[in-house]
């Protein structure tokens, strides 16, 4: 193959593994064709995407295997254990931290054939789907029946339910509907020893620590999620869109804090800094713009919007109407600028962190300043989203046209992570760890936390079969 791999080379698979894997999934669904190996070589880790322009890929899988059922996954895992072949699960391939990159010559276990919507329980307000269903297809299935999952990430059109669970994801409407861990009631997982685990869907249980939480953010390293039951919501009767301009980020964040303290629960709250406001809303320009979407049952929604309006006005908020909300709704999935910048040598990425309200605005100031100080920077901008009564997620976008792309990328990430840790924030709100964030994980969890996570990984997967080199370096580094 003429493409270059810069992290690990294609592995040589034992013949016995190939023959058995072919028998399990069928010849058609086991591939070592060049086109398939290239297609499963990379997810949406943006530095990798940048390098992929020239044919430089981080790693090539040894094979791509596409099972149709949990039973086939069990058999594949058993076979992989016998032949000591590492497996990288691949959902939608939309992860931005390299979680689905097939390191160590692993085979890719492609979950996208398992993409069926299974059933809806309208009485209990839950729906069950296979893990490989694409977010947009899940929403189409639910919307058609009068419901929504309420999880609408920017990756809705290219990410899967299993991916959401494995990265502990959050969507744009999360302030009202919650994050994926609030939505998943039950799931089926195939463990690294090949055994299936069925966590039945119930509203809550008190039977020891929550087992499902091991897989909410497990990144495919502790088990492979094959199906899940999630909570759903009736489509809103009423939607009210509002936006306000505040004199500063500090005022805007405090207004949202007050709104949530007053028990209002807008589905969407986003505070755009001056740079993002200018980019999204050129007519408003370099001001701090905040948008709100209240939605749901009519009476409740009106009250929600009323509380937002009152508190915003009491705190120097100047209404800018529905317009900015409509613009955001139109542009919210538009990731088109990134690839264009990359074509001109630009490095682009996003970093999402979280902090309590007491630290949230200083974190923004420090993080943006630190990232702007890196040589080669073009722009750093940020917004807050995913609010809680206690704090928020800060989402920062950076772009640069540096002489040394890797140096710039690494330095910018280092600056962002250090600013976050110095302000008592968490290094990730909802993108997860993948392989890229492993370098910062000990500063987040401490040696004891990392030790515990490694122990869990070793207990589950002593051979390091599943997603080796991701989340935590708990498995063996080289295949025998």
């Amino acid at each position: 193959m003429k493409v270059n791999t810069y992290m690990s080379q294609e592995g040589m698979l034992p013949r016995g593994f190939i023959e058995r894997a072919r028998r399990i999934v069928g010849n058609e669904h086991f591939s070592q064709q060049e086109g398939d190996l290239i297609s499963y070589s990379l997810d949406y880790w943006l530095y990798g995407v940048f390098l992929s322009q020239k044919g430089d890929l981080p790693a090539l899988p040894s094979a791509a295997i596409s099972p149709a059922s949990a039973a086939q996954i069990q058999e594949i895992i058993e076979c992989a254990r016998e032949y000591k072949v590492p497996i990288t699960p691949f959902g939608g391939g939309s992860g931005v931290l390299g979680g689905a990159i097939p390191l160590n010559g692993s085979v890719v276990l492609n979950l996208q054939r398992m993409n069926k919507f299974l059933n809806l329980d309208e009485l209990s307000l839950v729906a069950e789907s296979e893990a490989g269903i694409m977010g947009a297809n899940l929403e189409l299935e639910l919307n058609n029946r009068g419901y929504s999952a309420g999880n609408i990430p920017q990756s809705l059109y290219c990410s899967t339910l299993g991916g959401w669970i494995s990265t502990r994801a959050a969507g744009q409407f999360s302030t009202k509907y919650g994050k994926i861990e609030d939505m998943v009631l039950g799931m089926e997982v195939v463990l690294p020893d090949g055994n299936p685990l069925n966590i039945k869907p119930v509203p809550r249980r008190s039977v020891g620590p929550s087992l499902k939480d091991l897989f909410l953010g497990g990144e495919g390293a502790l088990g492979i999620v094959t199906r899940a039951t999630i909570s759903i919501h009736p489509l809103p009767q009423l939607t009210i869109k509002q936006s306000f301009i505040f004199p500063s980020i500090e005022v805007a964040v405090d207004v949202v804090r007050q709104i949530l303290r007053a028990e209002a629960r807008p589905a969407v709250v986003r505070i755009f800094d001056e740079a993002e406001s200018e980019r999204y809303f050129p007519k408003i320009g370099r001001k701090v713009t905040t948008i709100f979407i209240s939605e749901g049952e009519t009476e409740y929604t009106k009250l929600d919007a009323k509380v937002i309006r009152r508190i915003s006005r009491e705190n120097e908020g100047k209404s800018s109407g529905e317009g900015p909300v409509d613009i955001w709704l139109q542009k919210r999935f538009d990731i088109g600028l990134g690839p264009v910048l990359m074509q001109y040598g630009g490095i682009v990425d996003t970093i999402e962190v979280s902090a309590l309200f007491k630290d949230a605005t200083k974190l923004y100031r420090d993080m943006v300043a630190a990232m702007k100080s890196i040589e080669g920077v073009l722009e750093v901008s940020g917004h807050y989203s995913h609010f809680y009564r206690e704090g928020a997620c800060l989402y920062v976008t950076f772009a640069g046209i540096p002489e040394d792309p890797l140096r710039y990328y690494q330095d910018t990430w280092d600056a962002a992570m250090q600013a976050t840790l110095q302000n008592s924030g968490s290094i990730s709100h909802h993108h997860g760890v993948g392989f890229w964030r492993i370098q910062y994980i000990e500063q987040e969890l401490g040696a004891t936390g990392v030790g515990l996570l490694k122990s869990i990984k070793s207990a589950f997967d002593p051979e390091g079969i599943l997603n080796r080199g991701k989340l935590i370096d708990g498995g063996r580094q080289q295949r025998d």
Partner: protein, 359 residues
């Protein structure tokens, strides 16, 4: 040169997107194969251009597996970008070097021998007037549809000249095979057939024929001096002008939007207006209108890989069956044929069965 660079930039952008359209791609959804998703197809095209691929045959096989339905361009985050054009360029190159798949070769050979994809057939040329009704290759083989068309036209009060069959074809099979010289000759023949008959407007029952005779002919410099409308637009006019009278029926009908009719011709309202005007209750499948899925026989897939076609067809049939409708209707003769397991009707048949008298 500048235009070439712009084109290269466009597909390179697509190759670096997050695959934001893949949820709409029927070949990807039916197979779950990442490689068939639009962004991965784009990446492989870019890599092939850069000389980074070794497996030329494998690459070309993939390029002939696209349904060319247009779902990706419809749902693209970039304006004015159509991945199909790049896949088509690869097919042209493959055709030029003789590297097209065997079944595509056979189809082209049949076409060259008979002037159509089906084989030897009679000429249909009846009626008179400035209005024409072009019978597409798929309709030609569908007796029920031909009879229904005949009945509807005769009751409409219009003088219409029906024509088709023999060696008359829009050329789509050659276009999708990458045989652009053959396609150009067919387009000129089609132009001559229309001009000979001195038609000012033609109604066409196949969305792919319309795409070819308008957009694609224009791209190769062949302009038909005739107004072209699809059958659903024609029926819609007949209904609005009160030219047809029906007995109404209240069964449940599901309409399958043909991909080209929805994505390229943006015609999704008319069929629904017709169905509801006939008194039916319309029940939409989850994937309808701009979210419709190809039946599996879009020419791109039909001439590429049969197991892939079966997977796409099976997915679409399941989506349609989920509505549990009494009657399934479409507006593409090829879709009708491929989705026959649900007793699919062409919309003209639905209309013709219920005509009670001319106004």
């Amino acid at each position: 040169m500048a235009e070439d660079n712009k084109e290269i930039e466009r597909i390179a952008r697509c190759a670096m997107c997050a695959d934001m359209c893949k949820y709409s791609c029927p070949t990807y959804l039916a197979t779950g194969r990442e490689t068939l998703s639009p962004q991965k197809m784009a990446r492989l095209i870019v890599y092939n251009e850069k000389g980074l691929l070794e497996d030329e045959k494998g690459f070309l096989d993939l390029m002939f597996q696209s349904a060319m339905c247009g779902a990706c361009s419809k749902h693209c985050i970039y304006d004015d970008y159509d991945l199909r054009k790049f896949i088509h360029k690869v097919r042209i190159k493959a055709f030029g070097s003789g590297a097209i798949p065997e079944d595509v070769k056979k189809r082209v050979e049949t076409f060259r021998k008979f002037g159509n994809p089906n084989g030897e057939r009679e000429l249909i040329d009846k009626g008179a007037g400035q209005y024409g009704y072009f019978i597409s290759c798929s309709s030609y083989e569908d007796e029920d549809l031909l009879k229904a068309t005949e009945k509807m036209l005769s009751k409409s009060g219009f003088a219409i000249r029906q024509f088709g069959g023999s060696d008359m074809c829009c050329g789509a099979p050659l276009y999708y095979a990458g045989d652009m010289e053959g396609f150009r000759q067919v387009s000129l023949k089609m132009k001559a057939e229309i001009e000979t008959r001195q038609l000012s407007r033609i109604v066409v029952d196949c969305p792919t024929c319309i795409k070819m005779m308008t957009e694609v002919y224009r791209e190769i410099g062949v302009e038909l001096n005739v107004e072209i409308m699809h059958t659903v637009q024609f029926i819609d006019v007949l209904l609005k002008q009160g030219r047809l009278k029906f007995k109404k029926e209240d069964s449940v009908v599901t309409f399958h939007d043909p991909c080209i009719l929805s994505y390229d011709l943006a015609t999704t309202n008319e069929p629904r207006e017709i169905i509801t005007a006939l008194g039916f209750n319309l029940k939409e499948p989850i994937y309808s209108r701009e979210h419709t899925h190809c039946c599996g026989a879009a020419y791109g897939a039909k001439i590429g890989d049969h197991s892939l076609k079966d997977a796409v067809t099976s997915m679409r049939l399941n989506e349609l069956r989920n509505t549990a409708a009494d009657i399934y209707v479409t507006a593409c003769p090829t879709c009708k044929s491929v989705l026959s397991e649900v007793n699919m009707k062409y919309i003209t048949e639905l209309v013709a069965e219920r005509i009670i008298a001319k106004r």
